[in-house]
Amino acid sequence: MSTQEVAIKDPAPMSSFSKVDAILARHHYAPGALISILQETQEEYGYVPPEVLNHIAKKTRLRPAHVYGVATFYTQFRLEPLGKQIITVCQGTACHVNGSEMILAAIAEELGLQPGETTPDGQFTLETVACLGCCGLAPVMMIDGTAYGQLTPDKTRRVLNDLKTKAAQTKKKA
């Protein structure tokens, strides 16, 4: 996914605010567009760096506390960098009834992660979501936009191991 690649390629994006400035200009510095601005910023950097929050506040003439308040209210925004691949496990009702706890436990064990954490190598981030909207396939997890449905702990481990192998291969090539 493009967003995460940017975050990796560009480890010091804060040296200039040109990318955020382009986003801000596109929204005419309107305070009402704050959420869209934050969304596009996150799209650009993979997360919302705290320095950028201050910059956005300055340019939209909002108080930094207000911008920070909005950024932390919504679960979508992250103030820390994400892993290259994001694993989102559904914790919705249909998934819960069909054993999503066991899926989460299997991932936690396989990758040594709790929800919200990233592996030390920066490869995987584990997140939970209230419903992915494919409840017919419960239990479900989504990795980089692909939904994996009707999971069992075993199937989950297989998917993760495939991903790990692939990640190791790309690393070798690079």
Partner: protein, 597 residues
């Protein structure tokens, strides 16, 4: 227009896409070309058919043959057998779970037979990315009728006559809401579509957004005309990337065709539509929070009145409706309010889309006339509970709804009956639970959800839900007291009566309804220290049945704490002191020798 002798529909909904439907489409395309059929057979990517569990789905018209669980490698056979030789590929047909009988025709499936599709009538038939396909199915005819022949007042009258009530949860009469906003002073006026669909276990709005986006746009245009609004917003949750993409495309197409923007269809009616993506907060589905979010603020609800109809976006009159509510409008205008009112019950008219999930044979989207019974939905359309398990409860309406037992299944599905029974129609999530589902665990599940999603503004919701959850945790851990049940009921009533917004006011419903119908199960946790469904880990012990154990050692190998011991080919035993109750052994055992109790 070119005529084709056959249409091949490939489902492009989220479920089927994750099952590889894009690859299937590519392979079918190649096969069709290889057999020189491209002038005879048309390949269409459609929205969701609703039967996600059987996906990826491919349907061939004119016969209406439905192929299930299709793999890319099946493409060649479908083309050479069905499209060239006219022979149905038997092995890919849907099989009746009970009788193993094959069902070749889409419409004959029990899942579809009892349904009555209005809102979903195009989902799965048309390519949602092509405006002409919507128009070919009478799309935008209702808009033309409104602009050409009807005054705004007549449009509102027609909607009132239909008896349509809001599908977003509360069931407020739509026509009445429109007239409030029309009559409110202030300019400009806004219309808003609530596409936040935050209820976990519900995905009907998603299906309309992904499968028939122009229907929503047409509904909003008609509403804007009737109310006198010139600006509109669709607030769609960001967790639905495909829906966002299709909406953006549809809006662009409508603008290019002169259906959105200034002087629509050559009249002096102008309407500009914008899309806002949510950022992940359940409470933003509440209308005042949603408006705050559109304006770039934290999505916190505020007390009403003033209602949005008087003071909404930027203090101006605003009308908010749910996706499904808007999607009903074009048909009401085209076919008349009376036609719509002929379906349903006395006070609940028309059809409702439900997302049927959980422990049920056929999961998916079902659209049924109001007034149908829960039993018909779960057992006739849904095919009942799989694996010979016993039905225990059905949860309706998500975190604001309730759990109903077997004895309530003959209830008519309408706003009044369900509310009287302690549940709500809500957004339309129906989650079926079987004997393996623990009711205390379900109640806990919903409360942890509402606790996490509470915005924290009002005390009853912020503190009260937390306290109730603590009590439930106690009960699930076997540390509950009988007085706890009374405490739960008392706290629930206080929260219900004092919370600021609908989130808090309805959060106790899952607890109250389970206490009403499943009290025994709470008592079993408290007095017998037992979880009858075998879910609450602290009340369970794993053990190996010696007569079933073959001594294969699989369980001992998988146990992360080394709690299982035994010799090869001899029955093994679990050391309950060491066991952390992870369940890995039970999952691994091929002989069903490990039990929970």
């Amino acid at each position: 227009m070119q005529l084709f002798r056959a249409h091949v529909l490939v489902c492009g909904g989220t479920g089927c896409t994750s099952g590889g439907s894009q690859e299937i489409r590519a392979r079918l395309e190649r096969e069709i070309q290889a057999n020189n059929l491209e002038n005879e057979v048309k390949l269409v990517i459609t929205g969701c058919h609703g039967l996600c569990e059987m996906g990826p789905l491919v349907i061939v018209y004119p016969e209406g043959t439905m192929y299930t669980h299709v793999q890319p490698d099946d493409a060649a056979e479908i083309v050479s057998e069905h499209l060239l030789k006219g022979r149905i590929v038997q092995r890919l047909l849907y099989k009746e779970p009970m009788t193993e009988e094959q069902v070749p025709h889409y419409g004959d499936l029990p899942f579809y037979k009892k349904q009555h599709r209005v809102v979903l009538s195009n989902c799965g038939y048309i390519n949602p990315e092509v405006l002409e396909e919507y128009i070919a199915r009478d799309g935008y005819a209702a808009l033309a009728k409104c602009l050409g022949e009807m005054t705004p007042e007549e449009v509102i009258e027609e909607v009132k006559k239909s008896g349509l009530r809001g599908r977003g949860g509360a069931g407020f009469p739509t026509g009445l809401k429109w007239s409030f906003c029309r009559n409110a002073p202030g300019e400009p006026k806004y219309v808003v579509c609530n596409a936040d669909e935050g209820d976990p276990g519900a995905f009907m709005d998603r299906s309309v957004l992904e499968g028939d986006p122009h229907r929503l746009i047409e509904g909003m245009l008609i509403g804007a005309y009737a109310i006198g609004a010139s600006e509109g917003y669709i607030y769609c949750r960001a967790e639905y990337p495909l829906a966002v993409k299709r909406l953006k495309l549809a809006m662009k197409q409508a603008e290019e065709a002169g259906l959105l923007g200034d002087n629509i269809l050559g009249t002096d009616f102008s309407f500009h539509l914008h899309l806002k993506e949510g950022a992940g907060a359940f409470v933003c589905g509440e209308e005042t929070a949603l408006m705050a979010s559109i304006m770039g603020e934290r999505g916190m609800p505020r007390p009403r009145p003033p209602f949005p109809a008087n003071s909404g976006l930027w203090g101006k009159p605003t009308n908010i409706n749910n996706v499904e509510t808007w999607a009903n409008i074009p048909d009401i205008i085209r076919r008349g309010g009376e036609w719509f009112a002929s379906m349903g019950t006395e006070k609940s008219k028309g059809t409702k889309v439900f997302a049927l999930t959980g422990k049920v044979q056929n999961t998916g989207l079902v659209e049924v006339p109001m007034g149908i019974t829960l039993r018909e939905i779960i057992f006739e359309i849904g095919g009942g509970v799989p694996n010979g398990k016993k039905f225990k409860a059905v949860q309706i309406g998500g975190p604001s709804g309730g759990c109903l037992p077997e004895s309530q299944l003959d209830l008519s599905v309408d706003y009044e009956s369900l509310t009287a029974a302690g549940a709500i129609v809500g957004s339309g999530g129906l989650v079926v639970m079987d004997e393996d589902t623990c009711i205390v665990d379900v109640a806990r599940f919903f409360l942890s959800f509402t606790r996490a999603e509470s915005c924290g503004k009002c005390t009853p919701c912020r503190e009260g839900i937390k306290r109730m959850l603590e009590v439930l945790d106690r009960i699930a851990n076997g540390e509950g007291k009988m007085e706890d049940l009374e405490l739960l009921e008392r706290t629930a009533l206080v929260i219900k009566n004092t919370a600021l917004c609908g989130l808090g006011q309805t959060a106790p419903n899952p607890i109250l309804s389970t206490l009403r119908y499943f009290r025994d199960e709470y008592v079993a946790h408290i007095q017998d220290k037992k979880c009858p469904a075998g879910v609450c880990t602290n009340l369970l012990t794993y053990s190996i049945q010696p007569e079933l154990c073959r001594g294969c050692t699989a369980c001992a190998k998988v146990c992360p704490v080394g709690a299982i011991s035994g010799e090869i080919k001899k029955p093994h035993v679990i050391d309950t002191e060491k066991c952390i109750k992870c369940g890995a052994c039970m999952e691994k055992c091929r002989f069903g020798a490990i039990t929970l109790g």
